[in-house]
């Protein structure tokens, strides 16, 4: 019989408030196998750990159960305590009597009864535990960054700076992302391109950074330190090594009906194009949907004018396979399409635009060369209404928008309003808002400047209708402070649309088995303490992919993610989880079910001579590669013959737990 010690933690009043800890430790004393039971105020404290270590020595314990918080909090702490006291660290079991008990119960009697069951269950499991030894695996010293916006660029630069190789995979023909589309940045009003493009150039010139643009990550196998990714580099029909970016082809291309994605489709671009002047790589790309040569076989003008001989209509997609130690998700965002919010009339009126469209209208490289003209008649607007929270902060039940605050809109709207009042003092600017949210360094000062120095008319209330009357847009809303309805005849209406994760985020999340929230933002390993890591080991989060952020926050998080990546790549070996699956050769019937469900490709089948009582024959049996297995347990529940089992979570252990609960 094993000798087991049980240690019940009060967690201050977190547990002791709704669980009678004295009663729990007393009850444990009569559980078979338990030779020692105690309780203490903070078991995770140095004194608490000493109590455990002393008991291990004094009572010659073979295993311990700590009834405390979730194993996600302190399992590691107590494993180390046990190891230091001479126990195998896998002879430790945690009974979660906090998150799964004290926090959800109000009645102390009920809470105590349940805590006793949970602790008893952990003892039952522990009686079947076996000492396990962790192995090691090597680390591939290269990082993959998915997304080449400011988040991806910053992470890549920092990782490269530490001496590691980084690949940036960007789905668009150029890196730069959303920040490249911005005209000015708040709260300093510096030109966005002027601060972004040097970073883009730096990334392209850094010999440790490899930019794979117009590409997508198609498949990822492996695990932390040992990922293998397949990247599809789409055919751009232009040889990247030859194109000089002279843009002669663009001026000669007869097909000019492609929508200019960089300018939010407000103007057209040729079928062969470079997205914008500072694009990186500065290489043309052919849009196969628009190219006459690719569609009809006739034309070929760009090939004729290209002095570098870079055009290649026969170019095919290219598949790149590469190994990485870490993967950073920096997939960014897009503004929502406000068309379904019919009260704002976006779909029906050319002069109702989104803030990102306004950004392009105010930019010197935009469709109006930086002069603010409204889209319908290219006239200068004299009265502009901004509407905040379009699709943000919506009641979840109505399904009319996002439940969250998009965070950046208050500030960029103040910026737009101020810039317009500064450049066109004859223009009246109104802003409808629910709340103005400006926490951030120099943010509130910035907003107050818009109101106090630039005379922007802020109206607290939402807009109920935007209706076209003649060449005006009648904007009707409520003014909650004056308690009245207001109607403004506007020339231009700008919607501060909610932002949402890039549409590719969900499939990338699935591919990486990185968890996401219901809004498709990537979930961090811990909301406060591990904000740049995914719960999936080796996956890191950078920028808006994790949640709405402005540029300074994105850059800060990008560098933080880089620090985590560097910390990982700096290791030569990683300690592997010994809780892996293994197959019982005698029971395996060679059906291959486990191989099919294994998400990590850890199971292979071999022909092997199987020896057992009355058995001696060559059979086809499953074999688990412990370096690749992540211990998810999918194979153990799939195996029809019960041959597959998981160390540390063996079928016998689970059944013992179930029995102990049902006692």
């Amino acid at each position: 019989m094993q000798k087991i010690g049980v240690f019940v933690c009060w967690c201050g009043s977190n547990i002791a408030g709704t669980v009678d800890v004295e009663a729990v430790s007393e009850a444990m004393k009569s559980v078979p196998g338990v030779v020692y039971s105690a309780n203490y105020q903070y078991m995770c404290s140095a004194a608490g750990q000493k109590l455990i270590a002393d008991a291990i020595h004094e009572h010659h314990l073979d295993g311990i159960v700590v009834a405390s918080c979730s194993p996600r909090m302190h399992e590691n702490t107590f494993r180390k305590t046990a190891e230091a006291a001479g126990l195998n660290p896998y002879m430790v079991e945690i009974a979660n009597i906090r998150e799964q008990c004290s926090w959800i119960h109000k009645d102390k009697e009920e809470g105590t009864a349940k805590a006793i069951v949970l602790a008893r269950t952990a003892v039952a499991k522990l009686l079947h535990n076996k000492p396990l030894q962790a192995g090691t695996s090597a680390v591939t010293k290269r990082a993959l960054v998915i997304g080449g916006g400011i988040a991806g660029i910053q992470t890549a630069l920092d990782v490269a700076d530490a001496g590691y190789e980084v690949d940036i995979v960007e789905q668009r023909p150029t890196i730069g992302g959303r920040m490249a589309q911005l005209d000015k940045t708040f709260p300093t009003l510096d030109c966005s391109a002027c601060i972004l493009t040097p970073k883009m150039v730096e990334a392209s010139q850094n010999e440790k950074i490899n930019i794979i643009s117009y590409a997508k990550v198609e498949k990822v196998d492996g695990f932390v330190g040992n990922f293998k990714a397949t990247i599809r580099k789409k055919a751009r029909f232009v040889d990247e090594t030859k194109c000089t970016g002279c843009s002669l082809c663009m001026s000669k291309c007869p097909s000019k009906k492609g929508k200019d994605e960089f300018n939010m489709e407000m103007n057209n671009r040729p079928a062969i194009y470079i997205p914008f002047a500072q694009a990186i790589p500065n290489v043309a790309v052919i849009d196969p949907e628009q190219c006459l040569k690719l569609k009809t076989g006739k034309c070929g003008l760009c090939e004729k004018v290209c002095t570098a001989g870079a055009i290649n209509y026969k170019q095919q997609d290219e598949l790149i396979e590469r190994e990485y130690g870490a993967i950073v998700v920096a997939t960014g965002f897009k503004p929502i399409d406000p068309s379904p919010l019919n009260e704002y009339g976006y779909a029906d009126n050319a002069d109702v635009i989104t803030s990102l469209e306004l950004e392009r209208l105010m930019n010197a490289a935009g469709p109006t060369k930086g002069t603010l003209l409204r889209p319908s008649d290219l006239q200068h607007p004299h009265e502009i209404v901004f509407i905040q929270c379009v699709g943000s902060r919506c009641d979840e039940n109505t399904k009319r928008g996002k439940p969250y605050c998009s965070k950046i809109c208050c500030m960029y709207t103040a910026k737009h309003a101020m810039l317009i009042r500064d450049k066109y003092p004859d223009t009246k600017v109104h802003v409808f808002y629910i709340d103005v949210r400006t926490p951030g360094k120099n943010f509130d000062e910035f907003y107050r400047r818009a109101v106090e120095q630039y005379g922007v008319d802020y109206i607290k209330g939402m807009v109920g209708k935007v209706a076209k009357e003649g060449d005006k847009l009648m904007v009707r809303g409520s003014d909650l402070i004056n308690n009245q309805q207001v109607e403004i005849a506007a020339d231009l209406v700008v919607l501060a649309t909610a932002i949402e994760p890039d549409p590719t985020a969900r499939s990338i999340g699935t591919m990486l088995t990185a968890s996401m929230d219901t809004n498709d933002f990537f979930t961090e390993a811990h909301a406060k303490l591990r904000p740049v890591e995914s719960p999936t080991a080796g996956i890191f989060l950078s920028g808006v992919a994790q949640g709405p952020k402005d540029v300074p926050e994105t850059v800060a998080q990008a560098s933080a993610a880089a620090a985590k990546v560097i910390g990982l790549l700096a290791k030569d070996h990683l300690v592997t989880n010994p809780c892996v699956a293994y197959s019982n050769e005698l029971l395996c019937n060679g059906c291959s079910q486990c191989e099919k469900v294994c998400p990590y490709g850890a199971i292979t089948y071999i022909e092997k001579e199987v020896r057992g009582p009355g058995v001696r024959e060559v059979r086809r049996i499953a074999q688990v590669n412990p370096a690749v297995c992540q211990g998810c347990g999918a194979c153990t529940v799939t195996c029809p013959s019960g041959a597959m089992d998981l160390k540390g979570f063996a079928n016998k252990q689970i059944m013992a737990e179930v029995d102990a609960i049902c006692l």
């Binding site: 919010l341 019919n342 009260e343 209708k465 209706a467 076209k468 003649g470």
Partner: protein, 260 residues
Amino acid sequence: MIYSYYPGCTLKDRAKEMDKYARASAAALGIELREIPEWQCCGAVYPQASDEIASRLSAVRALMNTEEGKLVTMCSACHHVIKRTNYDWNRDADFRMKATNYMKPEVPYDGSTQVLHFLEVIRDEIGFEELKKKVVNPLTGRKIGAFYGCMVLRPGKELAFDDPENPQIIEDFIRALGAEPVKYPYRNECCGAYVALENKNCAETQVDRALNSAIANGCEELITACPLCMYNLVENATRHKLPVRYFTELLAEALGVKEG
């Protein structure tokens, strides 16, 4: 097909023609609207206080007396009150209990009645394509605008009639009858409703804005499903006038059953 039918008080008085044309059209479409026995006024206004029980009892009685499972309404206001009461019945246990205790019915209402506006019957049960086939007198060339008002659309989740910000059911209806529907932005606004009694000016502003918008977009006539909208659109228009008819009249005309 037989539907239970709740006409409502107005359709027995000021809006008799709405009822008359509805019955004639229904017959032409091969359905029967069977008036439920001993119905009372729907309550006219859905109560704003969630603990107000009494003014919803009449609607509960109508729902209870629906023998055919589906209760058809014609007037927007009746539809609004009865549909929302039914919605409450299926979600608010407190209301259900108090109303049942008060009424002491032999068999308590089980919440299974489906409330359908006649336009919903046409869209969801008959189908606009079928309606189109039954039209004998297509209203070709007529430019007709729909005035939805608010009762039939809002709150959108409870009424589940159409998108309250951009409805299209009546436009589809107009198109099925062979006429040209004209969309204008103020078609889903409030007509002024009962505020006309104490602040006539407010109602006039609402109506004038709607008519102005309808005319600017090319409407030559309007249809509505609401007697109160009809009243305001006709009585409180100060700047422009447009002919306003009930949608059932237009339907009867297209189906060739208006006379007789």
